[in-house]
């Protein structure tokens, strides 16, 4: 069973951040290719997002997200409190324009720009 305090914290973060990425590493230094792909999509969309590095508490966070969203692998992108998906889904929705719609932004003309500076990482503890 997930740690109730950690679960509460994660639920608060999901509620407080309209766009929240649970990832391995940070936007500046992703520690996993899948996490990096989602960061690149978010940067291309030019949206503000919160990012949390799950590596310091990987197993406890897996247990939390299993309960919160029935999903245990990272990255996880939450938009308006709902889990949208991991790298595969995010890229697919990016390419189809569904992600821009979910985020309420314009679909960018160029698909992989890296102009905006990455959002600062959030601290989980």
């Amino acid at each position: 069973m997930a740690d109730p305090q950690l679960k509460k914290k994660v639920e608060e973060l999901i509620a407080e951040n309209p766009v929240l990425l649970l990832m391995k590493g940070t936007p500046e230094m992703p520690r996993c290719g899948f996490s990096m792909r989602v960061v690149q999509v978010l940067e291309a969309m030019d949206v503000e997002y919160g990012a949390i590095d799950v590596l310091p508490a990987l197993q406890p966070l897996r247990e939390v997200t299993a309960e919160v969203a029935d999903w245990q692998t990272f990255p996880q992108l939450y938009v308006n409190g709902e889990l949208v998906g991991g790298a595969d889904i995010v890229e697919e929705m990016f390419e189809s324009g569904e992600l821009a719609e979910a985020l309420g932004v314009e679909q960018p003309a160029v698909t992989t720009t890296q102009q905006a500076p990455p959002s600062p990482p959030l601290q989980i503890e």
């Binding site: 029935d70 999903w71 998906g85 991991g86 595969d88 889904i89 697919e92 929705m93």
Partner: protein, 68 residues
């Protein structure tokens, strides 16, 4: 395994590394109709959960489509 869990599904699995533990699956199933992508992926993951649990698969990339 996926076909057993989702009758009528068309499944194509590619072994990305040649070692059989990093797979890419394209699944087209009538059951996906009306579901969000995340729910479609949940169905596929649930179908192969045993293989993850016993360590035969380490990574699975999923692409889903609605068929039928």
């Amino acid at each position: 395994m996926i076909e057993a869990a989702l009758p009528g599904a068309e499944v194509e699995v590619v072994d990305e590394t040649g070692a059989g533990d990093h797979l890419r699956a394209t699944v087209s199933a009538p059951q996906f109709g009306g579901l969000s992508r995340i729910d479609q992926h949940r169905l596929v993951k649930a179908a192969v959960k045993e293989r993850f649990d016993d360590g035969q698969i380490h990574a699975l990339s999923i692409k889903t489509e609605v068929s039928g």
